[in-house]
Structure formats: C-alpha cells, structure tokens
Amino acid sequence: MASKPRTLYEKIWDDHVVERREDGTCLVYIDRHLVHEVTSPQAFEALRLAGRKVRRPDLTLAVPDHNVPTTARRGPDGARLPVEDPQSAAQLAALERNAPDFGIRYIDAVAAEQGIVHVVGPEQGFSLPGSTIVCGDSHTAAHGGIGALAFGIGTSEVEHVLATQTLLLSPSKTMEVRVEGTLGPGVTPKDLILHIIGHIGTAGGTGHVIEYRGRVFEEMSVEGRLTVCNMSIEGGARAGIIAPDETTFAYLKGRPMAPAGEEWDRAVAYWRTLATDPDARFDKSVTIEASAIEPTVSWGTSPEDVVPIGGRVPDPDSFADAAKREAARRSLEYMGLEVGQAMTDIPVENVFIGSCTNSRIEDLREAAAVLDGKAKADGVKWAIVVPGSGLVKRQAEAEGLDHIFMSAGFEWREPGCSACLGMNPDKVPSGERCASTSNRNFVGRQGPGARTHLLSPAMAAAAAITGKLTDVRDL
C-alpha cells in the first residue's frame, strides 16, 4: 500500500512520536539536547528540588557561550582568568557544577571545542540529519541546515527534556520557501535569508516549519544552509529545514560524534529516505527568484526591515498597515535615520563579525577575502571578529585569516556569542551604529541604545573599509 506522500518535516515528526493523544498533541522524542548557561540554571534547580534525574545524559551536551567574555581566557602564565561580571560568573559556575552533577558532557570555556552551541553541534557531528534537536535558544533552528528538526525551547521545556527526553508538542503546519535560479556575485546565504524575511515578514512563518527548497539550496554549502535555517525564527517559524543530501553527508563524515563504520552506512541509507516526496503538499508556499536578490541590509529594528544595499530608507507612510507605519516611525527615530537617505550614506562606528549566524570558517574566509591588504576606515572605532568555536578559530589561524583581520584593524577574539546580544562585555555603545553579521536588530539587542544593521560577513568587511554601509560589489 502506498502511503500518503509526506514532507521532510512530516517524516521526521512521524519517526519521533512516542504517543499521540486524543487531542492531537504528541509526546515527541528528542534525540539531541544542547544546554548553555543562560536558560538552564532554573531547569537544573527544578530537577534538584523535585529529586529528579536527567533521563539521558548521553544525549545531552553542555557548552557555555552567551556570557563568556571573548577576551583571553588564560593569563600569560596559563592560569585561568576569572570572569569579571559577578552575575555572568555565577551563571557560568552554575553550568560548570550542574553538568557533572547530572552526568552531562561539558565542554569547558577553555577547551578547543568550546563555541556557540549552534556552531559546536554540527561541527562535532552531535547534530545529525533526521534527528530532533532542541536547545534553550531560539536560533536552534540553525541545525535544520543539516536536515534535523531543530527548534528553540524555554526553560520549563529544558527541564522537561532533561527529565523525560521528550516534549509535548502539537504538529506544526508546513511551509515551503522555494528559491530557484542562482545567486548573483556578492550575494550570500545571509543576503538570501534577510531577503526572505523581508518578503514573508516576521510573522510569515508563525505556526509553521519552513522547508527551504530549490536549486539555490541544493547548490549551497552546509555552512550556508546553517546560516539560512538559523534565521527561520526571525520569520516567525518554529524551525527551518533543508533536505540532507550528498553535501550534508560529506560534511558530517568523520566528525567526532557522527556515526562511523557500518553504522554510518545505515544512517546514510536512512537519511536518503527523508527528502520530501514528490507529491507531498505544503500548507503554504512562497517562491522567490534568486537572481532578483541583491546584497541586503536592515534599516530598522525588526529583521523584516530590510532593503537592497542600493536602496533608501523607506518612508513609514509607504506601508499599507497602520501598525507597521507606526513601528517604522519609531524604528527610524531609534535608528537616527532620515526618510529617503541612501543606505550607502549611513556611517558605521562599529563592525561585528560573529554570532551563530555567521561565524563559521566560510564566513570568516568571505570577510577576509574582502579585507585582504586593506584597513578599516578611521571612523570605525571598534571592529571585532569572533569565531564561532575554538576549532573555527584554529582553522582560520592555520589559513592566516587572523593576520588579515588584525592588519585591517580588527580585534581577533575568543569564541562566544559576543556582541550578538548585550549579555557579555562586548557591547555597542548607545547611539552608535554597528554593521553586524548577527541575526537580530531589536532595540537594545547589542547594548542599550545600540543601532544595528544586519548584513553578510562580506558586507560587514566592506563597511569596515569605507566606514559606511557599502555595496561589496563596488569595492
């Protein structure tokens, strides 16, 4: 009997249902759980209070990333330097204590493998195609880039997964974002996802899991796919996912925590069955032509507030929706921008290359290629590169990228979330602008009063050179 054609998401979902309730909600098994210091202390505390254990510590991996300072972690004598901020230090210490207490594998802040959870998971082969992956962080969607169903959860859910290795969930609706054609020169996966969010809006994917389909994604590297899926949450979607293929398998093969030998062959055979069936239907479908996409930058305080770099700051009155008009007005005020101003006339004082969206080796190569032999403009006061993990950092150093960055006037930092969010010492000063490769331009996200312009690593490098938002294709 031929079964009903299913999407990639539906196949993964079906394979993880432990129990289906009458009302349609399902107890869903979680294969991989990433834990960091910010959203876990209250969950561990609750377990302790209730006298509960972690059901499957062997499916859980803890890494500190949000709070860790990105400056040197050891002194010249090799001794560990203390974390200055007492609250950050307390959160980091809590994870360092909780992980061994509950038998969870912990990657220490000074280990070479440490990094941002969403960089570490795929890099270690902890995140696998067809698996369910959760983490108390909304950008968990990133792992969809290797063909996993991955999504962010809150602390109570972290507690639930720790205790039961399951979650109670309702199935999501399915949405297809199809991009055909090829991206033009200078147009990167980051530009693509910014464009997509601008197109569907920040609530465009609410209640849905997005599957990115079409030639552009088939030809994209795994790192590019991670960047795209990472920002699915900015389009309101619970998760984003791309079918695992030969590119994915080649990326994962030989990673420390990936299956090996005979198990690897079995896994690959299974992964090949996951792609969406030809006749499967999506609840919603959007098609975008790749050749229409240009290097894209944000102008406002929502990730949907984007324009091509050749564009201008929009007039709030040009929006059909009254609430959007009001929001745009407030955004422009916060961002200190004038209606009609050319995006390429906007000066930036800070440049941040990092975050789980754009801190992998390909991102650093892309930025370094633009910066090679050049220097940052005088108007750029602070420019930092924060590799996504210690292994990315080591690789970049082996390729000499650190020298390119430092000669260009960038600081070369230790891995962590850094200036993606104002939780550690890396903050953008109030009222100043930052050309940032991160994922959120919310009010105060990079520090109180900070003004964020989201863009790709290549575009961030271009902005550093000229001191203003710049079309990288013009350099």
């Binding site: 107890l27 959160q91 809150g154 205790a163 039961t164 309101g236 105060g444």
Partner: protein, 200 residues
C-alpha cells in the same frame, strides 16, 4: 503551577504589535539563576517613559495585559514569562502570539487568549475604564458592557491550567511508553539511540 480559574480585573491597554522578548525583559536581566524578582525588569525600557501604561496607578496590579499581533516574538527566554508573572500578570490577550512565548506562558500558568483584532480593539477601549473577566472554564472573555468573546484553547493546556498540573510529572508517568520507543529506536536507528559516543 498555580491553578487558574477566572482572571478578573483591570487590563493594561498596551496594544503594541510585534512586542519582542527583548522588550518584555532586556537581556541584562537574563543573568539570574532563579525565577523570582524579574518584575522590576519587565518592560523596563518602555517604563522609562513618563506616563507609560504600565505604571499608571489605575493599572497597578492588573492581572491582564492586552497586546497586538505576534506578542512575544524573538528569543526563547522564559524570563519573559517569569517577569510578567512577577509583575502580577496572569493572562495576555492578543490577536496572535509567538509559539515559544505561548508555550512558556502556559508552563508558568499565564493564560494566552487569542482573539480577532476587532475584539482586541474593543477590549483595548473597554480596558481604559472598566475591568475585564476571563473565564477559563467557559473559554470566554466578558466585560461589564456585555461584550462576550469566546476563545479557543488546547484541551490539554486547559486541563493543566485548571488543575495546576505538573507537566514533567505527567510525562514521567508515561515512562513505559518512552522506554518502548527507545527500544524501537535502538533497532531502527541505533546511531541516534545509543547515545553520543566519540569516534576514536
């Protein structure tokens, strides 16, 4: 979790759309290791403005917040729910909610009520002068002006809220089913089921 039945009182007529979790609780408040005391940071940046609705005397201790579309978008931080709870909010009414926020709210006994925009607009108007009642059992929002708006709620969530059930405890009681699943997994997808090992 405290059981919820009827939530009644003045409602903060906030109304803003796309309120993200950075607005509900700025990142600097996330450095805590407990759930308590976050009310002070709730809507901190908005509350810096003189005359903001949150600090208006008539809305002190309001158990209800009325907001616009896509409330709670952004990060997964449950601190948003803890901060609102600490502020005394037990229910939010809006045309739509971000998935993660709705789930976090529920897990902390905060009721999220999704109503069509026109009804939310009407409640925003009523809230300026009068209290609002949310009856969870009847799934209805009412006002002294005889407005009656019905809302949907997932039956499981309703049961948990009305009975104040501990979800982790409920799932732990299903241990047998989880074990069975793990057995099946071991046969069909051993590379996932056996736990993470490191290759030599």
């Amino acid at each position: 979790m405290e059981a919820v039945a009827t939530i009644e009182g003045r409602a903060i007529p906030f109304g803003a759309k796309n309120v993200d979790t950075d607005v509900i609780i700025p990142a600097r408040w996330l450095k805590t290791v407990t759930r308590e005391g976050l009310g002070e940071g709730a809507f901190e940046n908005l509350r810096k403005a003189p005359g903001n609705v949150f600090d208006a005397p008539e809305f002190a201790d309001s158990p209800i917040l009325i907001a616009g579309d896509n409330f709670g978008c952004g990060s997964s931080r449950e601190h948003a729910a803890w901060a609102m709870l600490d502020l005394g909010i037990r229910a939010v009414i809006a045309p739509s909610f971000s998935d993660i926020f709705a789930s976090n709210a529920f897990k902390n006994g905060i009721l999220t009520v999704a109503l069509p925009q026109e009804q939310v607009d009407r409640l925003l108007e009523v809230a300026r002068t009068s209290p609002i009642t949310i009856d969870l059992e009847e799934q209805r929002v009412t006002t002294p002006m005889q407005d009656r708006f019905s809302f949907d709620i997932d039956p499981f969530r309703k049961k948990c809220l009305t009975e104040g059930l501990d979800e982790v405890g409920l799932t732990l009681a299903r241990d047998e089913a989880i074990q069975e699943y793990e057995e099946r997994r071991r046969r069909h997808a051993p590379w996932l089921a056996m736990g993470v090992r490191e290759n030599a």
